[in-house]
């Protein structure tokens, strides 16, 4: 028993003689320097989440408010407004980011300008605020994608955010068309 303890103690004492300083086989400094020299990468990655979250929140409130404002302003003539056109053809085209995407989006933007002119100042400000937030999110996601082009999450987020932009534009267009058509009768 004593022998075993002595052996243990001798081994333990010898362990103190093991090298505590071991030089790495390669210089690790360049990797460290590169890592600490980089500007904070997290910002572009997380900002879209924040911007998008804000956009979604405002979109929900803004869209409801927008509907209410439009209905308040000219709603007397709208007995039972027709549902907003589903425009599934847009979904299919935009979601795939096909060659016609830019043209179709430009068309929506032009139509939006006409639609905005028919809105009350409050409703117009509401729509423009929502769109500004969404477009900021789009810019931020695109910026993040420049450094991480293969990031599937960012790609999906970009498509989703473009879709939200279109939803707002279509909703505004649909509502104002309803208002105009009912007034024209």
């Amino acid at each position: 028993m004593t022998d075993r303890n002595e052996f243990d103690d001798a081994v333990f004492a010898e362990a103190r003689g093991l090298a505590t300083e071991i030089a790495p086989e390669r210089d690790l400094w360049p990797g460290i320097e590169a890592a600490i020299s980089e500007p904070v990468q997290a910002r572009p990655r997380f900002m879209p989440y924040l911007a998008q979250a804000a956009a979604v929140l405002l979109l929900v409130g803004g869209s409801s408010g927008l509907t209410w404002l439009v209905m308040q302003g000219d709603g007397e003539d709208i007995v039972n407004g027709a549902p907003v056109a589903s425009l599934t053809e847009f979904d299919a085209e935009f979601a795939s980011f096909g060659s016609g995407f830019e043209d179709a989006r430009d068309t929506q933007v032009v139509e939006l300008d006409f639609a905005l002119d028919r809105l009350s100042p409050e409703a117009r400000a509401d729509v423009e605020e929502n769109l500004a937030i969404i477009r900021t999110a789009i810019d931020e996601i695109n910026t993040a994608l420049e450094s991480e082009p293969d990031n599937v999450l960012l790609q999906e987020m970009l498509i989703d955010t473009y879709r939200k932009e279109l939803d707002v534009m279509r909703e505004v267009g649909g509502l104002t068309k309803d208002v105009m058509s009912r007034q024209d009768i």
Partner: protein, 204 residues
């Protein structure tokens, strides 16, 4: 004469080669400069401490690639947390604490990662033993083969001389667990080394 504080930033690396062990006041000056985002001062600190930090990582992981990653991670974390270093403990102890965290974080990250580390360490023949000679090499290899928990405590307490309080604090375990793991490590080492015909008296 160790490196002078008046040296220009570009002289830090060169001065570190000359100064194997700078005075405490010089290290303190480098720390203060690094805290003000002076990267060359931080490089001087890196060159001063890397061997000890890497040695600790290598002893704990038993794998060269993992040890390199952990050492790099430790210095990156240290740079990011430098403003929190108040000098309550020695800078080397503070760095070791970060390095231990880097090792534990890496090993806990996933079971698959642990399996990979284990497989890698089994393939290589105790890379941490390369700096040890004679019978110490056998001892280092036996340490590498210890179970993870026992190895971590043995490395910190048995090799680097940390107290159970310090080791348990670094590893996030109870002091009693640290003592039990050290006892287990000593028993396993003795069994293994006796089997291998190791003779500690040989070195005396």
């Amino acid at each position: 004469m160790p490196a002078l504080l008046t040296a220009s930033a570009s002289d830090y690396s060169q001065s570190m080669v000359v100064a194997s062990q700078p005075a405490k006041s010089e290290e303190a000056a480098w720390i203060r400069r690094a805290q003000r985002q002076d990267m060359r001062a931080f490089e001087a600190l890196y060159r001063l401490h890397i061997d000890r930090v890497y040695g600790l990582c290598l002893r704990m992981t038993g794998n060269v690639a993992e040890a390199e990653d952990c050492a790099q991670e430790a210095f990156i974390q240290a740079w990011n947390k430098l403003d929190k270093f108040r000098g309550d403990s020695a800078f080397s102890t503070w760095l070791h604490r970060i390095a231990v965290n880097a090792v534990l974080g890496r090993m806990r990250s996933s079971k698959r990662e642990q399996d990979r580390i284990k497989a890698a360490s089994e393939l290589s023949s105790a890379p941490s033993a390369i700096n040890d000679t004679g019978s110490l090499r056998d001892l280092a290899e036996a340490v590498d083969r210890l179970p993870e928990g026992a190895r971590h405590v043995f490395v910190l307490s048995g090799i680097y001389g940390y107290s159970h309080e310090e080791a348990s604090d670094m590893l996030g375990i109870a002091v009693g667990t640290s003592k039990a793991q050290l006892h287990r490590a000593r028993r396993l080492l003795s069994q293994q080394l006796k089997k291998d015909g190791y003779d500690p008296e040989e070195r005396r």
